[in-house]
Symmetry: C2
DNA sequence: CCATAGTCTATGACACGTCAACCAAATGCG
DNA sequence: CGCATTTGGTTGACGTGTCATAGACTATGG
């Protein structure tokens, strides 16, 4: 038993490794994106989420759900991105309260320029380090953990797999 | 191949699941800690790191290394914690540039009060959802990913396993 | 011993994320 | 219809994390 926490030593060690790994990974990806494309990971995920939609636009609420963000975070983020002309807001015609967030030409351009390098980085730092069985284990484990915390969010993430392909 | 990113669909799906799982996990833990003990995860990790040292103090540089944080982040964090009396700075006698960060009585108290609930939460949300082989896979995978990015940080985390026990 | 280079830490500015409070439009029900 | 409730979204304040920079001290080479 750990001196302070009621978690056994091995588990605690795993926790530290996991947390540290994630921190370095996120930081590295953020730096690369910032350096090469002048955007943050948050910017990137909004851009790509929009780009995957047929009309390249989403309601802010949907965006929040898909990204698993708080609504207010989406709002702040969109405000910042709008100021940099990566994205634009338009009022919703059918619901007076609603707002559409759409990709601008600049947003499309930035996303295009950023994608290849970013994907390569994720591959190099993450996927290339994982063996197939580890990927499988990480996937099922992630889903199980997420499902236990927030079944809805879990379902939404799982649905992405189907949602992104059928543009065909 | 994904429409935008040069990563195959399955990998991309895994990436989303992983990122989303981590976000929810971190948020949930932060909320619980804030609610139950009035501190953040960052506060907690500083407190526990200090508590594990014989003298319950560390140089800010060591703290940064052990936590895998930027030095400036440590500095800001310690400033905030000092203001709330969780921690105290003292000048280093042997190196005029250095600063020790030590636990205050209040810090010890808060840590003690927070530990059990926090550990229970980590166990419930994370460890209880993982089967043994998944834990093993996640551990080795985390170390491999971290080692590829930052061998030093990897070594430091690995050393923690030995550093915390040998008080015996 | 002085100059210079390197180390340890702090600070300021800024982007980010969360919470709580809020507004406005839509819905539901008496 | 009319009023309360719910829903979609924004805002402000605040704590947090990063970068670039600065300041104070130490180590080193002439």
């Amino acid at each position: 038993m750990s001196p302070v926490l009621d978690v056994n030593e091995q588990d605690w060690q795993l926790w530290r490794e996991f947390v540290t790994m994630h921190r370095h990974l996120a930081r590295e990806l953020d730096r690369q994106l910032q350096r090469d494309a002048g955007i943050s990971q948050a910017d990137f995920s909004v851009l790509i989420m929009l780009s995957e939609r047929p009309q390249q636009q989403l309601r802010t609420g949907e965006l929040a759900e898909l990204l698993a963000w708080e609504k207010s975070r989406v709002s702040h983020q969109v405000t910042r991105m709008e100021a940099r002309d990566l994205v634009e807001r338009t009022d919703c015609a059918t619901d007076g309260r609603g707002t559409w967030v759409g990709l601008t030409d600049e947003g499309r351009r930035v996303l295009r320029d950023a994608s290849a390098d970013h994907a390569a980085k994720i591959r190099a730092l993450f996927f290339d380090q994982l063996h197939e069985p580890e990927k499988a284990a990480l996937g099922t484990a992630s889903r199980r953990i997420l499902d236990a915390m927030n079944p809805e969010a879990c379902e939404i993430v799982a649905d992405e797999a189907r949602a992104t392909v059928p543009a065909a």
